[in-house]
Amino acid sequence: MKLFSKLLLGSITATLCSFQGTFAQEGDAKALDIIKKVDYNSRGFGKYSADMTMFLNMPGGKSFKREMKVYSAEQPSDYERTINIFKSPADVKGTKLLIHAHAKVTDDQWIFLPALNKPKRISNDNTSGSFMGSEVAFEDLGNAKMMKFSHKFIREDDLRGKNSYVIHSTPLSKYSGYSYVEMWVDKALNIVAEIRFFDKKKELMKIETPELKLFNNRTYMPVKITYKNVKTGKATVITWDNYDFRSALNSNLFSPEKFDNIN
């Protein structure tokens, strides 16, 4: 029984002595003020559902389509909870991803795989990996992502004829796939106009270009985002259709005990 005692002790120690990684919004005052306004403009939607379509475009011209249904609900004292339900390709149909986004701690994630027939919690620092083979990393998703960077105001700039702020943001987590990002913020609207991502070698890796639309005279939501990988020539284009802010989704469905019930 000595082996059992060691294993038992090891597992309990690993389990009980661990703690969650914590983040706090960092940066200079001007950058934080801009980020605060951008954050305000991307929130306030309450809850919504939408049809999300992702096109993975290869340099040779081939394109692969991925379809999802997205449900999201803002939390009173935290960031949103989101459920992504995969509709295609057919072999991942019925797979569901639940994300509890947090400002101050790492996000919680669960995946429901039809083959397992139960939710599985996934390690929450695994954020630099690719989302469905696309140019989008898990860490690029959700509104809480900006809280996981340290921000520094660099300059004002002209981006495609619009006055913009340029902010240099460094990830707080060492597990991030980026060394830093540069963010262009539309000065007039206080919304993100472009993000340039630099890899661990500090080389430009990809460029995100969002198209946002004002809904309910309150929140700017994405209707199309293009991610262009400048190193590989691959691109991912995501579109959102059929936004529905009246969807009567019960908030308790956004829990790991329940989210597999949603179709």
Binding site: A14, D125, S128, Y175, D241, E257, N261
Partner: protein, 418 residues
């Protein structure tokens, strides 16, 4: 080698024909985004969703066998559709039959209703009634706490497929907490493959017409409570009823094994904790049968390395240890065993994966290795190549793995999802 049956070839033809290349297109990206309607119509109240797959599977067992006349090939077709009808996310009906036709192994052909049940949500109460799949525990390899559904012995033991189980369960679910009561009225005994099947791992035949089941006319009952405390998941459960695993008694006259399913109490504790890229898992169980007590433990770790060298490639390592005193005393294989695994996900558009699994008894080194490579082909197909090999020294006839050591095989699976 026998030629695959006619029905296998027909299904193979249908499956291959169905694997069309509809995903490939040069200009699928819309030029502009249509303006969004802020007051889009509300979602449909009733939703139907059909999913699942049909497929063909072939396997070649390349060792000589110690069981005279044992088949050395599989060639089968599989259908596993699932229909979900969902009314306002509160009431659901799920139908999921599984069917396998094997052209070379008659006993392996079977149909099983894996799920056919109603699920209703009434605020914090959830009621599920009908044939269901209920899975407890967090292990990737064998688990000691997963006791509700009977295992399907006519499927590969490394896949741990489970038969559907009729039951009613009532759950009280709150944020971070659930309490569920299970009533399981009917018992399902194991259905073993034919003694001529390579999946049959017993040294002598099983007398399936001489099965004893205790407690058969009474329902089994179980209860489970789960609690989530930040990154820690805790579950406590108890099961009372007919043990899903039989005791075997050797009949010296007929030289067959007589299964006897006895009544068992089993208490379980499950812990799972996620910290950075590490998931720690612990499962403890105590079983009581025939006034004897048996202790069981499962402990495991998962470690994820993501975006390796900035390539997007991800690898998950698994290490698990299992000790099941009941199985050990009843001389079942893998009662004191460890499981190691490495799952390489290429994060490409075809979702290519290589999953290497390693399973061995602890005291006696009996290394079984399985390498499974899978890749999406076109928009709705998947191809899976699997190789299972026993790499250890030759085991004596008295070993519980004496038959399994000769079951090294290579298999190819083609699935068409819908």
């Amino acid at each position: 080698m026998k030629f695959p049956s006619k029905n296998v070839l027909i299904w193979l033809g249908i499956t291959l024909y169905s694997l069309n290349g509809s995903a490939q297109s040069g200009s699928l990206v819309p030029d502009s985004v249509v303006a969004q309607d802020e007051s889009s119509p509300a979602e449909k109240k009733i939703k139907f969703e059909l999913s699942g797959y049909i497929g063909v599977e072939g396997a070649k067992f390349y060792n000589s066998t110690i069981v005279k006349g044992q088949s050395r090939e599989f060639a089968s077709t599989v259908a596993f559709p699932t229909l979900k009808v969902n009314y306002k996310n509160n009431h659901r009906v799920i139908l999921s039959p599984f069917a396998r036709w094997d052209g070379l192994d008659k006993e392996r052909s079977h149909i099983d209703m894996r799920e056919a049940y109603y699920s209703g949500t009434f605020k914090s109460i959830e009621l599920n009634a009908g044939i269901q799949q209920v899975s407890w525990g967090n292990m990737i390899g064998p688990s000691v706490v997963n006791v509700i559904n009977q295992s399907d012995e006519r499927e590969d033991f490394l896949r741990s497929e489970r038969l559907g189980q009729a039951q009613a369960n009532l759950a009280y679910i709150r944020e971070n907490f659930s309490a569920t009561l299970f009533v399981i009225p009917f018992f399902r005994k194991k259905n073993f493959p034919d003694a001529q099947s390579p999946l049959f791992y017993f040294p002598v035949p099983i007398a399936e017409n001489n099965v004893r089941v205790d407690h058969k006319s009474s329902p089994s009952i179980a209860a489970r409570i789960t609690k989530r405390i930040e990154s820690l998941d805790v579950a406590v459960s108890h099961f009372y009823g007919t043990n899903r695993m039989p005791n075997f008694a050797l009949d010296y006259h007929t030289m067959t094994l007589n299964p006897h399913y006895k009544v068992q109490h089993q208490s379980n504790v499950e812990l799972q904790h996620v910290f950075k890229n590490i998931t720690s898992k612990l499962e403890l169980a105590n079983k009581w049968e025939d006034k004897s007590s048996y202790q069981c433990i499962n402990a495991g770790l998962e470690y994820v390395v993501s975006n390796i060298f900035g390539s997007g490639i991800e690898n998950t390592f698994y290490g698990e240890y299992l000790y099941d005193q009941w199985r050990k005393e009843k001389q079942f294989p893998f009662a004191d065993a460890y499981f190691l695994g490495s799952k390489l996900n290429f994060s490409d558009v075809q979702s290519s994966e290589v999953f290497i699994k390693f399973l061995s008894n602890r005291e006696e080194f009996t290394p079984f290795i399985n390498v499974e490579c899978s890749r999406r082909v076109t928009s709705n197909g998947k191809i899976i190549l699997s190789i299972t090999e026993y790499l250890g020294k030759e085991l004596p006839y008295t070993s519980s793995l004496s038959v399994m050591q000769y079951n090294s095989n290579v298999s190819l699976t083609l699935r068409r999802f819908f």
